[in-house]
Amino acid sequence: MTQVKALILTGFGLNCDHETALAFELAGARPYRVHINSLVDGTVNLADFHILAFGGGFSWGDDHGAGVIQAVKLKNHIGKDLLGFVDAGKLIIGICNGFQALVNTGLLPGLDKNYTRRSVAITYNDCGNFRDQWVHLTANPESPCVFTKGMDQADFPVRHGEGKFIAEPAVLASLQANGQVVFQYADATGSPAGGVFPFNPNGSLYDIAGICDPTGKIFGLMPHPEAYNHVTNHPDWTRRKQQRQREGQAFGAEETIGIRLFQNGVAHIRERFF
């Protein structure tokens, strides 16, 4: 294997597969968009890949809790393969609906190496509605998360109706103690939002936007890094461009922090597996 192979799930109402595939490609991986049924019927073998991406979307319409039916189906049909993938030290990223699916399978938070227990939940936004907005995130430098290595902050869009992270106090304390809180919603200065809307867009406890398992190899987040795949995705890009031009600098060829996040994952695989 000379290429980092990333499997991006598709089908059953998932919808961010094309841009997630592009993000992996820009990050140097070879992306494969694979229908959930192809894993279920064995046409495609999960073990052939290094990174598994649970992408955004509305799997099964999110009718019975976001990501719930997707989690039940995967657990039911390829539960063992998933655990084997984790055991092999490979990477899993869940974005938005994918994050919701990861917490419903139990792959997150994976406390005490239990990857099947549901101990946290992502529920309806406090604001009562689906919401699309860009958020500031502050990254936890103590986190083992391989995807956010070297990051201190990031801006990504959130687009969800169910993004409020909740957990019992004891679970939350473990997450904090283990450095499993990867991203927190932040205000314009980069400090955690302290629950203040709209900086914290959904009322998540402890401003949690993303968590990882204790090994840092399974990562779930509500914001969409793949939607920041080009400088022009950022809502401030026209302003930044003016500033840069007035400072006599070029604008447009920069890599985005969204792509960097995927690069970190790809680099980790290269280090570990090649």
């Binding site: 919808n15 039916i69 400088v231 026209t238």
Partner: protein, 1000 residues
Amino acid sequence: MTACIEIALKQSLGDAEASSLVKKADSYFKIHIESARTIHMLTIDSELKTQDLERIRQEIFTNPVTQVSSLSPLEIDFHWCIWIGLRPGVKDNPGATAMEAVEDLLGRSFGPDEGIYTSKRYCLSGESLTRSQMETLAKALLSNPIIQQFKIFSKSDWHPETGANVKPARVILDHTPCFDFIDIDSDQTLAKISDQRNLALNPRDIPVIRQYFLDPEVAAQRQAMGLSGPTDVELEYISQARSDHCNHNTFRGIFNYTDGMTGEKTIEHSLFKTYIQQPTLALKQKKDWVVSVLWDNAGVGAFDEHNNYAITGETHNSPSNMEAYGGAITGIVGVYRDPMGTGLGSKLFMGSFGFCVGDVNYDGPLKPPLHPRRLLNGVIEGVRDGGNKSGVPTTFGQTLFDPGYMGKSLVFVTALGIMPKQVKGSPSHEKKTSPGDLIIMSGGRVGKDGIHGVTASSESYSENTPAGHVQIGDPYTQKKMHDFLLECRDEGLIRFITDNGGGGLSSSIGESAMISNGCVVYLDKVPLKYPGLDMWEIWVSESQERMTIAIDPNDLDRFMSLSRQHAVESTVIGEYTDTGKLHITFQGKTCAYVDMDLLDKGFPAWEFDAVWLPPAARGLTEPVIRKPEDFNGLMTAMLARPNICSKEWILRQYDHEVQGGSVIKPLVGVNRNIPSDGSVTRPVLTGNKGLAFSQTLLPWYSKIDAYHMMTCTVDEAVRRLIAVGGSMDHIGGVDNFCWPDIGYDKKTNPDGRFKAAQLVRACRALKDACMAYEIPLLSGKDSMYVDGHLEGAFGERIKVSALETVQFSATSVVKDILHCQTLAPKSAGDFVYVAGITADELGASEYYDLFGKTGANVPQVNFAANKVLYRAVEKAVRLEMPASCHAVGRGGLGIHLALMTMAGRLGMEIDLSQVPAAAETFSDDVLLFSESAGRLLLTVPPDRKPVFDKLAKGLAFKCVGGVTDAHDHLKVTGVRNDMIVDLSCADLDKAFNKLFGEMI
């Protein structure tokens, strides 16, 4: 056996749905609920073992962290409990996904008599609550009798064991499918039957229909197939095909147009041919980028070297007026099938909405089917769920308010797709059906829903309108089908594809079989939601999420295997032929056998009388308004008006970035809360090209003259495109007409002739504008009869007609997205320019409307001057001269300077005396609020000013002030050199967010 799972959020968690109910009950009806909880219910109509029920309850339907659940009624205390469930036959999307999940987990399939049905109950506490208050909530807030049913329980009505005692909402028709022969012994008989059966046949068509079936040769051929007179299936087919919705009889009709002043008469033979088709075909000759227009489900233009884009726009008005959520979600999901069914199929990459509704705070005597507030909430949510769950970004949208829309609200939905130019070496925009091709129906199943939708939307809304055509779209099923069909396309399996929308199979097969010149359809093969549908019902049902596809029989196995992989149902239901006959059978028996060219058998065109009276002859004059003294107060009052103020809360509910190609978003500025001129999207993520998109609605100008309404609407759409970075070289247009009834009737429609004249004038204007700006009309639709007969205080019914409305959508291709621009000023020290001439054109303006006036000086478009100006702005933006660019629209310079100030969070100092004006004598209010077309605002950095001035030389550009960081105020100096406006960003924000700022 029926089981019921009840699920609720744990009490320690906030129940947002219940909180919203408490809030609405209080603010809408002054009903004070102390506390409330929502319980979700699943009624399982299946023989499941107890341990299986337990397993699905725990593993699928209960989140251990957030929820509690039980197989018996949850013990949650209440004073009143309201149960809401769907009526049998109404699409239950969560019920369907629940079934899918249960089947997958338990590894067993549900039989035809089994099912899962979802419903809800609300437990409400409050000592003082009464049964009649509960009825109010159930009827006016929680349910709509068209699709839902409710039960109310007091504490003493409630049995802890039986609970809400929900019965499965199963459809049982208990009917043996059949077809009927229709008596055509006289025109009168057929007219009567048409009435009874809701066929909506036009009286002028009846003799033609009879003549066909009475033709001895036809009769002989039919007899050989076992048919005598026409069958109901055949008449339904004719009715669908001849409906105004499918056949566009109005736009293809004959208009006898009289100028009421001069008496001059003109005959318009076909508005469509003269004002839409001819100019578009002429422009297609000139414009290389125009690929396919005027025949397919959407128009096609070139995007880049390898890809084309498809665009179309629709309305879904009548259903949305009766069931707002269901109508709107069906509308957006429905229009998304059009690009999917264009050429060999395109991938959706963006959509947009336009809502026109009555006053959301209306408290007068008229009783529309749904209060505007409830209706608006419903359509917002419907388009939101439909768009978001389709995985398609909604990058643009507008919401308008006018009392006329209480008669009928308008819901515009627009869809764009992207497709490779070539599929397996053949042009993707071409397709055909050939004899021997299989007819396949993919996607949803057929039920009674949507029957006679087309004919109902071709009539005004009245108390007799059948409600059965209201549906609930299913974006989940459609998204699966979308992904499936794109794979089929890329493998070259699709020979022809079209969607099932209005008219169902009757339209999709009827029209596609014209190409091969015949078909045979086996109606008994069509998969049904429940048994018992008559043949004509299967044939015309508008059940959603279905596509009709033609494939080579050799490809059937591969097609079906992909279909299974994507969990999409596909069925072979017939075959295309070249027999010249539309042949339909049911279990081997023929139930329709007519000539494919039957519809060309001389059906008469519709005819309308149109009489035009110019505004002066109608008594319209300018109001007399002396110059105001408090411009600060005036500006804030204008900013707070419903049609100007912030609707951020609506736009934020739409995912506008999915697919990762967002360049210019619907909300821009430092605080990302000012509506953008247009959107720009990268449908091809590996390239630097963008698709610029804008839409305009200016129906108010129709109060004076629909000609100018149309020209101003097109002009603004073009201007918006230019502002974000579009090019005059490539502008595609989509016209969506919504018009009140134009058929004159002395009693029921006394002003029909005037409205007909307005339509003719709008069409003339459309051609003038399109030819001037070289805009081919890639697509267009019309929705007539936007009137309602609303019940008043005394049981009278008053006709309320919507304004003559056209939504115009425009597209352009941006060569390099890095040149795109927003309306927000970006730096202090920049100069502010006004481009374009301001004239005394306050007719039907927002300013006059503030005082309840209309006036007569409606804005008029100077195409020649604007074209030169727009070219100059386009060039300036492309060369990166301005730091911001904004099209001036509704509300005039005053409002649009305020929007820019709020967007940039910088001060703007403006001198009105410098504004390029048609006369020097204008007063400040004219300069601030005139809505003259053709104007833009730009900010230009000092170092780029010299080259910009050079480019602008000789054109109507004028520097009118500057951007400053010394303060964050909008300061406007009037023509007498006095400071007339001085408002801080905070003042402006407050006014702009006054009406809807609380909404999230």
